[in-house]
């Protein structure tokens, strides 16, 4: 791909505390996110992945190093709105990001803030709700929707801003399997069909497997970076760091340990079954 939408250069960060020196949460992170890519950031709780996400649209500013969004340093206060409209952010709890009492009015919130003319807001709202598959619910009250539906409204609310990149901080952590699937399908669609850059923060391996690139974090550092197939090969290291690989990869790994010659990069059930079949036939 051509250009980097987010560039993180040697960033360090710690939560300020008046009383004592707190440990570094980010310890020299360097990462560039390409325009149009789908990147998953994986790590256990406390690995610094959420803190890193919050650097991507200037919620936090780095202590050391710089973060550039579309070439603008996030430390440039007067460009804050430009940064925020370029990189949208979706959080874990859908309840706490929905502002309005009616779905379509919530989706309209960001364009309203940006001073978009009324007729265009109307268009954006309709188009975005269509995109996340929630048009039917335009006039509904958000608190009566399911978790997955609420989260898709929250995504629509960000997309209506027409950002070039969307960062999702554990968007499925509070959802049931059906809600999770809907949200993941929506995210993938935004990336593939709309060309929106997606950064997905998660600790679910199977979610990470959807991405084109997987960044693994631990102790405020990037410890793995590559296509999911490649990263998952390091089963032992991931397990040691409190992460687990998908059951498919785990099974292949165990077979390999016991001398069965199977590849490690079969992520889906289908691929895994075929790999085992080929080895045992």
């Amino acid at each position: 791909m051509s250009k980097e939408i987010i560039e993180i250069k040697d960033v360090t960060f710690r939560y300020p505390d008046v009383e004592k020196e707190t440990p570094l949460v980010l310890n020299g992170v360097t990462l560039a996110i390409d325009q149009g890519s789908f990147v998953a950031v994986l790590g256990h709780n406390g690995s610094g992945k959420s803190t890193l996400a919050k650097h991507m649209n200037a919620i936090y500013l780095p202590e050391g190093g710089t973060v550039y969004v579309d070439g603008i340093s996030t430390a440039e206060e007067e460009r804050l709105l430009d940064i925020r409209r370029t990189v949208g952010m979706v959080f874990q709890n859908p309840d706490n990001q929905i502002v309005a009492n009616v779905v379509e009015e919530d989706v309209a919130f960001a364009p309203e803030n940006l001073g978009v003319p009324s007729e265009e807001i109307r268009e954006r709202v309709d188009r975005t709700l269509e995109l996340v598959g929630m048009s039917k619910y335009a006039k509904h009250a958000p608190h009566l929707l399911s978790g997955g539906q609420k989260q898709r409204i929250a995504i629509a609310g960000v997309i209506a801003m027409e950002p070039r990149c969307i960062v999702l901080d554990e968007p499925t952590a509070m959802l049931d399997p059906i809600g999770r699937e809907d949200v993941l399908r929506t995210i993938t669609k935004l990336n593939r069909e709309q060309g929106i850059t997606v950064v997905l923060i998660t600790h679910h391996m199977d979610e990470a497997a959807l991405a084109d690139r997987l960044v693994v974090m631990d102790h405020g550092k990037v410890i793995q970076d590559g296509p999911p197939r490649e990263v998952f090969q390091h089963v032992e290291e991931l397990t040691r760091r409190g992460l687990t690989v998908p059951e498919t990869v785990g099974l292949l790994h165990q077979l390999r340990e016991n001398g069965v010659n199977v590849p490690l990069d079969a992520l889906s059930v289908e691929e895994c079954a075929e790999a085992i079949y080929a080895a045992l036939r």
Partner: protein, 288 residues
């Protein structure tokens, strides 16, 4: 063996007599035996939350009975309250119910409500904290200073400290990372083994349930379509999928392998160890 907890022809209808009337549970029969470790599966809105809230008398059945040791818990006001001490219920995201100044006091809230003496309360608090892996020095801290995972443990300890005969946990691992999830599941398993008490684990993660329990009850549309060993329940993969539930990935892999024509003797493998051993036997390498 006599069941410890029994539901008989239980029905629950919400907002009866209004346009919002909704039958959440329909003619439920369920027996829970002492020492069992049961997984309860169902998607959101299937009625599983309503079901578990009937087990400790938080919800009153529209019709039918809830029997604890053969006696209807709705017999008297005292017996309803008593049921809550015999059947402990840990809600989803229980960390949001912490309120006391110290972890110790928060765990002691339940036992205090049981009117136990100080000494007994102290013993129970320490033991419960031990079960969930909270170290001694955390007991005097404010629960609000702890990390999310630790808060969750405090909340679970708060219910364990009541020493209920039946412990029900609603999605105890929701929102945790794999390490946190495994640790909590381990704690619960240890608790189940050493106390010999009955545990009901509500979850929609098939992998999670497959690893722990010896019996699975599926809730769907206010009924219990399947109730049996993981093996028998997971063999209904098609129906489970239609209910919005999945089956463990390894089980899916095995079903696919069988379709591909591998001579798989057991078509319902659901844990990683079983799967590995079965495949190694096939490969002629012998099980580990």
């Amino acid at each position: 063996m006599e069941p410890i907890l029994e539901l008989k022809q239980l029905n629950c209808i919400y907002s009866q007599g209004t346009p919002f009337e909704h039958q959440a549970l329909t003619n439920i029969d369920l027996s829970v035996y002492p020492g069992e470790y049961i997984g309860i599966m169902g998607h959101t809105g299937s009625g599983k939350s309503t079901l578990i809230q009937h087990l400790n008398g938080l919800l009153k059945p529209t019709s039918g009975q809830v029997l604890l040791h053969g006696r209807d818990i709705w017999e008297s006001k005292a017996s309803v309250r008593d049921a809550k001490f015999h059947v402990g219920l840990v809600f989803q995201y229980p960390e949001y119910q912490l309120f006391e100044e110290t972890v110790y006091q928060d765990i002691a809230f339940g036992p205090k409500n049981m009117k136990l003496d100080q000494e007994e309360i102290e013993r129970r608090v320490r033991q419960a904290a031990g079960f969930v892996g909270l170290s001694e020095d955390l007991l005097q801290k404010s629960p609000f200073e702890l990390s999310g995972g630790q808060k969750r443990r405090v909340a679970i300890a708060g219910v364990i400290a009541m020493e209920p005969e039946v412990l029900i946990l609603d999605e105890p691992t929701a929102g945790l990372d794999p390490a946190g999830r495994d640790a909590i599941l381990d704690n619960i398993r240890t608790y189940h083994k050493s106390k010999g008490s009955t545990v009901l684990l509500v979850s929609h993660s098939m992998e999670e349930i497959a690893r722990s329990v010896e019996r699975i009850v599926v809730v769907n549309d206010g009924r219990l379509p399947f109730d049996g060993t993981p093996r028998s329940v997971f063999s209904h993969s098609k129906e489970l999928r239609e209910m919005g539930l999945g089956i463990p990935q390894v089980t899916q892999v095995f079903q696919r392998l069988k379709e591909l024509g591998l001579p798989i003797e057991d078509d319902c493998v659901y844990t990683m160890d079983e799967a590995r051993d079965a495949l190694l036997r096939l490969a002629g390498k012998g099980a580990v």
